[in-house]
């Protein structure tokens, strides 16, 4: 009985990872892609995306769920890049400049996000999601109407022909791969952007260190139980806001890293995908809404992107249609987030029910007798 239970718990915990592994491995042969190509893609994508996914860790730690509001940080980073291009600041200096410009913006946006989420406790994820859309509207307004008119843009080449507003696509060749190319390690035919990974490693170290600080411990307490944390004297509201601010700033930097690798900026839609990709990655890596660690980040990025690299071609070759492959990819993408969320919710309900059983001092094997009272799960 116990072994079977352990197995089913293991399955439900890692269901998403397992599903992804199976799908990716199954789709590799029909895709016609070589393992070498896939590995190089993975290396590149790890460098490109990990920072963004790491930005999600602290809010989960602080009990605020998946921070869909990280898109706000991405928007701040993009504004920073627009200014960097405007002043023709190239190379890694351009990236640092973009980060410095985006910093105050992301702090402000993160603060707003935190405030809003504090007023929607228990619904942070949906709220973050909608807030990202709302801010997108503000961002569009700012970049399409304010930049170039109220905010003078010296570089006329990036402004729309009507005189104000930024062009749809910004060529980032002045900063293209300037982080990646600082030091490139080429071994066994693979090309590895060393400095990018160093930056990511520094962030991991920072996060590990941060968890040990008082602020980090406070966040953990808030994440576990807000009421208890409050009575222990922790400023719950403020701590939550700080968690979101840090996450937003990290998202700002992460988006800059992402864009420098891509090489060009789709001014009005580059940030649309950011939240989705990051959240999907961390969930695929085995994280849940209330617990995530650094391993989840890297495993998740690798699995998710491996699947994304392989499935369009596999779909095309298997079903004879590139469209189907594309739709299939998105279907799995959204499906996996839905599945993870469902499994998580289901697991936490079971855990709560079992905790209640424990209180009643009933032996686990006599579950069935008390079925009726636990069927409705307690919360509305």
């Amino acid at each position: 009985m116990s072994a079977k239970k352990k197995f089913s718990t293991f399955l439900s915990r890692y269901a998403v990872v397992i599903i992804f592994l199976i799908i990716t491995i199954a789709a590799t042969p029909p895709s016609g892609l070589s393992v070498r190509y896939i590995l190089q893609e993975l290396i590149t994508r790890l460098g490109r995306n990990s920072f963004l996914v790491l930005a999600l860790l602290l809010p989960i730690y602080a009990g605020m769920g998946l921070n869909f509001g990280m898109t706000l940080g991405a928007m701040a980073g993009q504004i920073g890049l627009i200014f960097a291009v405007n002043y023709s600041i190239a190379g890694w200096q351009g990236l640092v400049f973009a980060l410095l410009v985006g910093l105050p913006i992301s702090v402000l946006l993160g603060w707003i996000c935190g405030l809003v989420m504090n007023r929607a406790k228990g619904r942070e994820m949906v709220t973050g999601y909608i807030l990202a859309f709302f801010m997108n509207g503000i961002y569009q307004f700012f970049v399409m109407y304010m930049l170039g008119s109220v905010v003078p843009m010296g570089n006329k080449a990036i402004v729309l022909s009507r005189g104000y507003g930024i062009r749809n696509t910004l060529n980032l060749e002045s900063v293209r791969q300037s982080l990646d190319n600082i030091l490139v390690l080429r071994i066994a035919g693979f090309s590895i952007p060393v400095v990018t990974f160093i930056v990511i490693a520094v962030l991991c170290v920072f996060i590990a260190w941060f968890k040990k600080t008082k602020l980090g411990q406070d966040m953990r307490a808030v994440g576990q139980d807000m009421a208890v944390a409050e009575s222990a004297g922790i400023p719950v509201e403020k701590t939550r806001i700080i968690a979101i601010i840090i996450s937003t700033v990290l998202a700002c930097a992460g988006q800059i890293i992402f864009l420098q690798n891509m090489g060009n900026l789709a001014t009005y839609n580059a940030h649309d995908q950011t939240g989705f990709f990051a959240v999907a990655s961390i969930l695929v890596g085995g994280a849940s809404v209330t617990s995530a660690n650094i391993a989840n980040v890297f495993i998740g990025v690798m699995l998710l992107h491996a699947m994304f690299v392989v499935s369009p071609l596999a779909g095309q070759n298997l079903f004879g249609s590139a469209m189907i492959g594309e739709y299939f990819r998105q279907f799995i993408g959204y499906g996996v987030i839905a599945l993870s969320l469902v499994l998580y919710a289901w697991r936490s309900k079971k855990a709560a029910a079992e905790a209640r059983l424990g209180l009643r001092g009933v032996n686990n094997s006599h579950n069935n007798k008390v079925e009726i009272t636990t069927k409705n799960g307690g919360q509305a």
Partner: protein, 175 residues
Amino acid sequence: MNGSTSEKNGQNAQNVKKRRLIIRAALLAVYVLLIVLMIHSGRRHTILIDNKDPHDGSYSAIDGMEVSIDNQEPLEYYRGDRDKAVVQGQKHIIKVEIFDDGRKIEKSFAVPLWTDMVIIYVPKLVNGIEPWLEPFTVTEQLEESQESISPDEEISFQSMGSPQLEDLGKASPTP
């Protein structure tokens, strides 16, 4: 006893506040300093290297030479040529090697921070005529094109038509 403790507490609170203020001011200073540094070292400029005969005939273009900026690849210039080099930062070195008499000339120069494009008239540089470096703007370009052949292509960024926005509530992002 009590009086001095509460005084000390008050004093401590003051110290903490002062310390916080100093740290914040310092952080702000670092922030501004970094921005300035980045602009200085990161700003890109285009240097037009000109080897054309001037309209007033005060000097003549050089028949053949090799010119390089900083550590970039040297390019060959013949009479009437003009090319460009893209550099970052303000201080640079231009190296000229003339084919005819094998002269090698090296000069360092600084580009003003907020000037995007400058033009170096190499014949003037070689013959010691000042000024051989000038800012280059679109108006000058237009003047030139009215007088003679149109200049080389300028740097331009890719662009696409008019902006399109997401439809309201387009909530399904495409990965």
